[in-house]
């Protein structure tokens, strides 16, 4: 199966004072439909930059970002906007939606209306998605009045309502309590099972529960732990085989 998303040799540098800092170095990643991947890393390790480049919001200095066979790091703003309305959906500003509709229902319906759907149809589909993410109780509330955990569900509903192929979310569950976080992660897992490729970040291992692939940024390189073990096959503190992802892309044995 060919990858839905491929980052190929992505490198990003920033100027910090007189220094130039390499945030991402020769990063490669293949994501297929149904993959649920989490990049687990601390502050300042480049995970937000990685997501912004993946979404096409930032261009890498070197390398390419291929989505469905197209290099999205070089497409026009118009094409990128169209992709972001439907196929690639992002929750990059944590659980706080960037654009507020007046109510949760109107807010979740926004991307559908922006894509040309009528108000009635948009709100019907939005209501169904709100129900699915467990936000029915506050469908008529103002988005600005919601708690963090409620906003996370609403942001997820808004991101998923157009039926994206790729969902990108930055530290979406980091401010949630254990039960809320677990519930949102279970929702993400259910979208992945339906074929949505999901790439999220987390600052804490609890934010990676349920993901099928686990990665981290290590000194600007992306590394991945394999998750091929079956239950009980080895003790959980046995590390098993591990592969530096920047050296060996998924399924490969090197360059």
């Amino acid at each position: 199966m060919s990858a839905l998303l491929s980052l190929i040799g992505v490198t990003k540098r920033y100027a910090r004072g007189v220094r130039e800092v390499t945030v991402l170095s020769d990063v490669s990643l293949d994501l297929e439909a149904g993959d649920f991947a989490c990049v687990l890393a601390g502050r300042g390790e480049g995970k937000t930059t990685l997501l912004e480049i993946t979404a096409g919001y930032r261009a890498p200095e070197e390398g390419r970002v291929m989505f469905a066979g197209r290099d999205i790091s070089t497409v026009t703003d118009r094409v990128r906007s169209r992709l972001h309305r439907s196929e690639i959906r992002c929750v990059l500003n944590r659980s706080v939606p960037v654009v507020h509709g007046e109510t949760v229902l109107k807010h979740v319906a926004l991307p559908l209306m922006a894509g040309g759907a009528g108000i009635r149809e948009s709100q019907r589909l939005a209501a169904a998605m709100i129900e699915r993410v467990g936000a029915r109780e506050y469908i008529d509330a103002r988005v600005s009045d919601l708690a963090d955990s409620e906003r996370a569900r609403v942001a997820l509903a808004q991101a998923c309502v157009p039926g994206p192929r790729l969902l990108i979310a930055d530290e979406m569950t980091d401010t949630l309590d254990l039960i809320e976080r677990s519930s949102v992660l279970a929702l993400l897992q259910s979208f992945a099972r339906e074929g949505v490729a999901i790439l999220i970040t987390a600052a804490d291992a609890h934010g990676a529960v349920g993901c099928s692939r686990l990665l981290t940024l290590s000194g600007s390189e992306l590394v991945e732990a394999p998750v091929t073990r079956t239950e009980g096959e080895k003790p959980s503190n046995d590390p098993g085989e591990v592969v530096p992802f920047t050296r060996a892309r998924r399924g490969g044995g090197g360059e």
Binding site: A205, R213, S236
Partner: protein, 194 residues
């Protein structure tokens, strides 16, 4: 983890055979802390050898024989003693801290290599835990005491692994600076330990 004691506890609750005991232990521990079936079998062998359990019956399904074990009086006492023993907190002073404390400039490249390996090991161990399905939608209300224990144990294990990973990542950051510059800028160190 003293698996042998947990297997003994299951047999004290009611007799069981190898496969059954492994299933019951997996249910109590959850998939993230589950132990291999072979470990349960070796625990049974050891418990039998020390006289803590005995064969109480044999059952057959087709040609498959299951040997059922029950607890002996001595085994019950031994298990009760273990439960009453105070739990000892594992020391924070671990080998990795001692190695890091003994660092000098000549050892930076070797230590970097070791910490890179540790980082991957931590990540792989976390992946083994996080791969399991989130539990929130499986919880009844109120939660049974056994399920509460399982959730707390899994959460504690993940906290532990996460702390290990973050320590290793911070240390790697400092070692990389030491390798590139020969020293560590104060702001980088404070960023790492804050």
């Amino acid at each position: 983890m003293p698996v042998k004691h947990a297997v003994m506890g299951l047999i004290v609750e009611r007799p069981g055979y190898g496969y059954d005991l492994h299933n019951r232990l997996s249910h109590r521990l959850g998939p993230r802390l589950a132990v291999p079936e072979a470990t349960v079998h070796s625990s049974i062998k050891s418990l039998r050898g020390s006289g803590h359990i005995e064969v109480v019956r044999r059952s057959f399904r087709g040609e498959q024989a299951a040997i059922w074990y029950g607890a002996t009086e001595g085994g019950r006492d031994w298990y009760a003693d273990w439960l009453d023993e105070p739990v000892v907190r594992e020391p924070v002073r671990r080998e990795v801290y001692l190695k890091f404390a003994m660092i000098d400039a000549t050892r930076v490249p070797r230590l970097l290599e070791q910490f890179r390996r540790l980082e991957l090991e931590c990540l792989a161990a976390i992946a083994a835990h996080t791969r399991a399905r989130p539990l929130a939608d499986e919880l009844s209300d109120p939660v049974t005491l056994q399920m509460a224990a399982r959730l707390l144990n899994e959460s504690g294990a993940l906290d532990h692994l996460n702390a290990d990973l973050m320590f290793v990542k911070r240390t790697l950051g400092v070692l990389r600076w030491a390798e590139a510059e020969g020293s560590v800028p104060r702001d980088k160190l404070l960023e790492a330990v804050s």
